[in-house]
């Protein structure tokens, strides 16, 4: 380690690893500093007790893009996207609806829903395709545009006008900024179906189906589908972060675990490395933060090194996590009323209607937790039996909407909230409670503490339209650049945002390699 370090990456989450991989493959000597005891961030596997293993805070994802797979040779390092899964919209009376890519199956489906569903999917995938230039490139600057900025905008305009055609373009412009509630009510009759689609539009955001911009968040999610179908993360060697870690190390990246960065060193407006919490310094002329932009600027850089209004804006980034995680270790497979065992391989949603979701969201606005939360349930051990002992299973549940600040305090209420979630699950799977041998409940507060995501937000900042594209994470730090020379951002807080897509990391690496700072 006597070699000169070209770039330090703060945080070995998947975006940090993608960025590190690209930079190392371009010939840079890259060191990745990770405060935790494993690489992977929110996608790093977790263990409960000794015998129960979970894929991570993230439990389902779309594959990363073909470009990232190819450039970082991920397939060579064992990356295999999982099998396509269905989504099951659970019904309290056992009349569940199974939703596949192009069809819906279940009792009491209207003919028009059955007919409209594939048409609707096709149209929205086309919208997602039209937006692709925005997501896969550095977002264009609107002031002092360079050639690349103009090209991105031109391509976007072309895609929307010519790619969609006139009629579809009008429809796209109509729905782009409105809410998913109105759109789904126009299209469908079935509450289970509307609930399931709306759940995907809002999960991870402090938004209900009626919040403006929820069509956009859904389109953002559909971007991932262009790389392949959604699958469950099932831990093990095929998982993305495992391959990314191997790939990065193969390219020469040094990953230092249990290494906590206390501050970014700055002199004369330029970074020259980082200071660790043990007092050591690590020097490099390029520092790339995969941390939440709020903690990057407020904690690691500090207000004295920033202009006043920029420093203030950095504290005003909106993003308070509203999703909690429940991990259950089970000594058997739960039985869901009206569901066959094979359907448990999919993603189960308790989102029986949009009204149900909106009401759950309403509680979180007032620092309360609904008795009827939105739940996204997976059983990863059905895809990888190594996750639990023979005959045992692990269940991973995302719970929305759970507020970061809870009236009455989390210390007092955490066990009560977990109990309510388990009770709600019990209404659909009566034998579940009797199977539980261990559990782990991560509130947004715990997610903040364990994953250093400010206020426990998955995406390091809300994916609302005012914090997207050239406004992400904030004006003055878009395009992966910051006011500090040599300091860049590569995490979910940057465009295009969260999700296990690696795009912020990839775009940041491109930006750095083009900046002329790389040797």
């Amino acid at each position: 380690m006597t070699d000169r370090i070209d770039a330090i990456i703060i945080g070995a989450g998947h975006n940090g690893l993608v960025c590190a991989g690209y930079l190392a493959r371009a010939g840079m000597n890259v060191v990745c500093l990770e405060s935790g005891d494993a690489a992977g961030g929110m996608a790093a596997p977790r263990t409960l007790g000794e015998h129960y293993h979970f894929p991570g805070l993230a439990h389902a994802a779309y594959p990363v893009s073909a470009a990232i797979r190819r450039d970082l040779k991920l397939d060579r390092f064992g990356y295999v996207p999982g099998d396509a899964i269905n989504t099951v919209s659970l019904d309290a009376d056992g009349q569940h609806l199974t939703i596949a890519a192009n069809s819906i199956v279940g009792e009491n489906i209207s003919a028009s829903d059955e007919r409209n569903y594939p048409v609707f999917r096709k149209q929205y995938l086309a919208f997602a395709k039209a937006l692709r230039p925005l997501y896969e490139n550095q977002p264009p600057r609107l002031k002092n545009m360079g050639f690349a900025d103009t090209a991105t905008l031109a391509k976007l305009g072309w895609n929307i006008r010519m790619g969609l055609g006139r009629e579809t373009m009008y429809e796209f412009l109509r729905v782009a900024a409105i809410n998913i509630y109105d759109v789904l009510n126009e299209e469908f009759d079935d509450d289970r179906l509307k609930g399931a689609i709306a759940a995907d539009a809002v999960l991870g955001s402090a938004m209900g189906p009626r919040t403006p911009g929820t069509v956009l968040t859904w389109l953002q999610r559909l971007q991932g589908e262009r790389n392949g179908p959604m699958s469950l993360l099932s831990g093990g060697r095929s998982q993305l972060v495992h391959a990314l870690t191997q790939s990065a190390e193969d390219a020469g990246v040094t990953i230092r675990l249990n290494t906590h960065v206390a501050s970014i060193l700055i002199e004369n407006g330029k970074t020259f490395g980082v200071k660790l919490s043990n007092g050591d310094m690590v020097k490099a002329n390029i520092v790339i933060s995969n941390a939440d932009p709020r903690s990057t600027f407020s904690r690691l850089v500090g207000a004295p090194q920033l202009d006043a209004m920029f420093a203030r804006r950095a504290t005003q980034i909106r993003g308070s996590g509203v999703v909690a995680k429940l991990h259950l270790a089970l000594n058997g497979l739960p039985e869901f009323t009206g569901l066959e065992d094979s359907q448990l391989r999919g993603r189960l949603l308790i989102a029986p209607s949009m009204k149900y979701i909106e009401q759950a969201f309403n509680h979180s606005k007032y620092n309360e937790c609904s008795e009827n939360p939105l739940l996204e349930i997976t059983i990863p051990s059905l895809h990888n039996s190594a996750l639990a002992p023979d005959g045992h299973h692990v269940m991973s549940i995302n719970i929305a909407f759970v507020p970061y600040e809870l009236d009455g305090g989390w210390d007092e209420q955490k066990a009560i909230v977990a109990y309510k979630v388990i009770s709600q699950l019990g209404r659909y799977a009566p034998n579940l409670k009797s199977l539980i041998v261990d559990h782990e409940f991560l509130t947004p507060r715990d997610i903040e503490e364990q994953f250093l995501a400010v206020r426990g937000h998955w995406h390091h900042g809300e994916l609302s339209i005012h914090q997207s594209f050239m406004m992400r994470p904030l004006h003055g730090a878009a395009q992966y650049d910051t006011p500090i020379d040599g300091l860049f951002l590569c995490g979910a807080g940057s465009h295009p945002g969260g999700g296990l897509n690696g795009l912020p990391g990839q775009n940041a690496a491109r930006r750095i390699l083009k900046s002329g700072r790389a040797k």
Partner: protein, 402 residues
């Protein structure tokens, strides 16, 4: 961050508030020419403009400073906060000293200027022309600092002119002899406590005396009770305008647009463009606007607020500035005065530089009236780099006694 409510509930019935000195000024005011300054009623002229002007230059003029915006900035992070706020290296600022500062927005455009008083270790007062509480509070994000307005909690008099030291001494304020320019001292005037700083906006020897509002009239009476040849005169804003131009002092918001108060790009000004480059220290560490100013400093300057002596004795008023007589229009006069001591027409003008240089020949084209008849005239202008008027007695310590 508290907002002391010192204003009466019925205050809105009175458009302009009275300062603690108001009764005395009103008693002296024969002209009744009043104006508003920061929501206070202040005189433009008390009795006689010429007498007030000459009191600054040859006697002792007294002006009510109470309406000036005053902020108290305290806390262990106060120094770090102020260092990031202002463009100037304030390393040399110590308790009991004052420094002139300017602060910018993120784009490196001037928001305001003012005087920064260090009262004790973590206790500062910032005085400014314009309301700054919002900017200061928003800038405080990330610093351990408390900021409050104390504009209405402290009364102040500017006591300015060659005899001001003698007048204050005769008024019973001892201990000013060793006070150097930009020094602060806590003293007494009879049985009231006052703080005196050797500061001012006139370019002459002068002091600012800070006092509790309840003691204000006692201070006034002590100063105006000084008998004899010192020529103690109450002064209004019009005379101040004359002397501050003579001294080459600028007034943000009048001589140039302040940042955050303009809508159009390029209508605000950087410190370099208003002649305040000397209070910008780009190598002092980070401050708000530094990055923008570094970039600006590396390029040829686009324009500058320039001190001009205008030939002739016709009142210049509003005028355009041209590069050569009948040449290209390159600027405009922002403020102007006839200087009785210098016998010159003085002006500050916003002038576009050509290729980073001030054009060699500058002319003003202006309109003036003779017995209600308008005339147009051209007058050549001569740029000055130094203050028009800067007498030695301004900075002598101890000051001359009269």
């Amino acid at each position: 961050m508290t907002f002391p409510l010192t204003i009466e509930p019925e205050h809105f019935r009175q458009a302009l508030q009275r300062t603690p000195f108001h009764d005395r000024i009103e008693a002296l005011s024969s002209t009744e020419v009043w104006t508003g300054w920061n929501c206070y009623k202040v005189p433009r002229v008390v009795e006689n403009l010429a007498a007030e002007y000459f009191a600054v230059r040859s006697g002792c003029a007294v002006m009510d400073l109470t309406p000036m915006e005053k902020y108290r900035i305290t806390g262990t992070g106060a120094r770090e906060f102020l260092d990031r706020l202002v463009t100037r290296d304030i390393t040399a600022l110590k308790p009991g000293r004052v420094t002139y500062v300017v602060w910018c927005n993120d784009d490196g455009k001037v928001i305001d200027d003012g005087t920064l008083f260090q009262l004790t270790q973590d206790d500062y007062r910032l005085c400014s022309q314009h309301h700054q509480l919002d900017w200061l509070l928003m800038s405080a994000t990330g610093f351990n600092v408390q900021i409050r307005t104390e504009t209405h909690d402290i009364a102040a008099l500017a006591v300015q002119g060659p005899t001001s030291y003698s007048v204050l001494t005769a008024a019973g304020i001892e201990g000013l002899g060793s006070l150097k320019p930009f020094g602060i001292v806590d003293v007494s005037c009879g049985d009231i406590a006052v703080t005196v700083s050797r500061t001012g906006y006139t370019g002459d020897l002068g002091y600012e005396v800070w006092v509790e509002p309840t003691d204000a009239l006692q201070l006034w009476d002590a100063i105006f009770g000084v008998q004899g040849r010192y020529n103690v005169v109450a002064m209004g804003l019009d005379a101040l305008e004359m002397v501050r131009i003579e001294a080459g002092f600028i007034m943000p918001g009048f001589d140039f647009n302040t940042a955050e108060a303009t809508i159009r790009d390029s209508h605000d000004r950087s410190p370099y463009e208003v002649g305040l480059g000397w209070v910008v220290n780009l190598d002092k560490g980070h401050f708000t606007g530094r990055k923008a100013l570094l970039l600006e400093e590396s390029k040829p300057i686009k324009r500058r607020l320039t001190k001009l002596i205008v030939d002739g004795n016709k009142p210049v008023g509003e005028a355009f500035i041209y590069a050569g007589k009948n040449g290209k229009q390159i600027g405009e006069v922002k403020c102007t005065t006839w200087s009785p001591v210098l016998k010159s027409n003085l002006a500050l003008a916003d002038i576009d530089y050509i290729n980073g240089r001030l054009p060699a020949e500058l002319w003003a084209r202006f309109d003036y009236q003779v017995e209600l008849k308008w005339h147009t005239a051209w007058a050549q202008c001569h740029a000055q780099s130094k203050p028009f008027y800067n007498p030695d007695h301004r900075s002598t310590t101890p000051p001359n006694r009269f």
